[in-house]
């Protein structure tokens, strides 16, 4: 007979992780409030799609990698492996296609809705697309590393990697966006 749900147990076991995620999120929010160009609504619009698509690419990779580890088709070593290569390539391809499609939507939003100049709209698209690619690279690195390390230490990656990937996805998305805004400029 498995234990019944206990209100207090759920609260005390969850609060620590939630607090850590909240503090990291606040750091991301601080970046957002103080380092984005003021009053440019289009950059704020980019935050939710960037974070959620990055988080999904990372968590799908994490889920597949941990199943592959459990099945024994991938070993937790940082070297060339066929199945690992396939998974990383697939995540990269997913990043390129999806950030390009949503980036193109930002081109039309800036050009048609905000009546921006053609060059500005193009730069907006380029900023979103390159920030997405940078985020994809960061998240693939973080996902592979944290999955391998937790598996080697005997911790089930299913339980740890997901919160790490989504939390880092949030702060990494905003950081990538700020870096690309400064690199490309508007």
């Amino acid at each position: 007979m498995p234990a019944r749900y206990d209100f207090r147990k759920i609260i005390s076991e969850s609060y620590g992780v939630l607090l850590v995620a909240a503090v990291i999120g606040l750091a991301a929010g601080y970046l957002l409030e103080n380092h984005l160009p003021r009053h440019v609504a289009i950059f704020l619009m980019m935050v939710p799609p960037l974070n959620s698509m990055g988080g999904n690419i990372g968590s799908v990779l994490a889920a597949r990698l941990s199943s592959a580890l459990h099945l024994g088709v991938v070993t937790p070593d940082f070297q060339r492996q066929r199945v690992l290569g396939i998974n990383i390539t697939a995540s990269g391809v997913l990043g390129i296609i999806s950030f390009f499609v949503i980036g193109a939507s930002f081109f039309f939003i800036e050009y048609l809705v905000f009546s921006g100049a053609l060059m500005t709209s193009f730069k907006i698209m380029l900023i979103f697309f390159s920030a997405g690619l940078l985020l994809t690279v960061i998240l693939i690195g973080v996902t592979v590393t944290s999955t391998f390390i937790s598996y080697k230490r005997g911790i089930d990656p299913d339980n740890v990697v997901m919160p790490i990937v989504t939390t880092l996805g949030d702060i990494g998305g905003i950081a990538s966006l700020i870096i690309l805004i400064h690199l490309i400029g508007v």
Partner: protein, 195 residues
């Protein structure tokens, strides 16, 4: 061979990825629309956006996975939606969101006072904590109800709730939580007499 396997993964994941992207474009335009109110009336709101979004994701994600395990183990009776075990889980999710939102509002006030030169006042603290608590609780209640309904209905149909509930929550989550934040900001600004 390897090429085909890459293609297969891309083909399966891409549709849901693009769907979340477009849904979140909606969330993003809400956020963009809030910019003026946030900057002009209540400094510190933007600081709370990432932690509040992460909070609702973490709370409802763990709720969904507890519900899935509970249904599989037979702890939760799928015939009766509002049974005791479901209620305990939903109440715990709501309590967690209130406690963590108070923490987020308090730290956001400290950040705003320390780094932006805004003077500390009890009213700033009350407003930021108020926005955080209303936004978090509202989105967690809505998403918990969706999580319960989706897991129980999919279980009844013979689908594995572990595969269905989380994607539904991540797709709806951001737009609901930004919508709740918008509503919370409006309510608090109205009470404070700023709009």
């Amino acid at each position: 061979m390897a090429r085909n396997r890459v293609k297969k993964i891309v083909r399966q994941v891409l549709p849901i990825l693009l769907l979340t992207g477009f849904f979140n474009l909606g969330a993003g335009s809400l956020l963009g629309g809030m910019e003026e109110q946030m900057g002009k009336y209540l400094a510190g709101t933007l600081v709370m956006v990432p932690p509040l979004m992460a909070l609702k994701g973490n709370i409802t994600g763990t709720l969904a996975s507890r519900l899935g395990s509970g249904l599989h183990q037979g702890l939760i009776n799928s015939g009766n939606i509002l049974n005791k075990e479901v209620k305990t889980n939903v109440y715990a999710a709501i309590a967690l969101s209130v406690i963590t939102a108070v923490t987020i509002g308090t730290i956001a006030t400290l950040i705003t006072v320390m780094f932006t030169g805004t003077l500390f006042s009890l009213s700033l603290l009350a407003q930021l904590v108020g926005v955080a608590v209303i936004a978090a609780t509202l989105s967690v209640i809505l998403l918990s109800l969706i999580a319960v309904a989706v897991s129980i209905l999919s279980y009844r149909r013979g689908w594995d709730p572990d595969n269905i509930t989380s994607p539904v929550l991540t797709t709806l989550g951001d737009i609901l939580s930004i919508g709740s934040l918008y509503l919370a900001l409006m309510v608090v600004l109205k009470i404070a007499g700023k709009i």
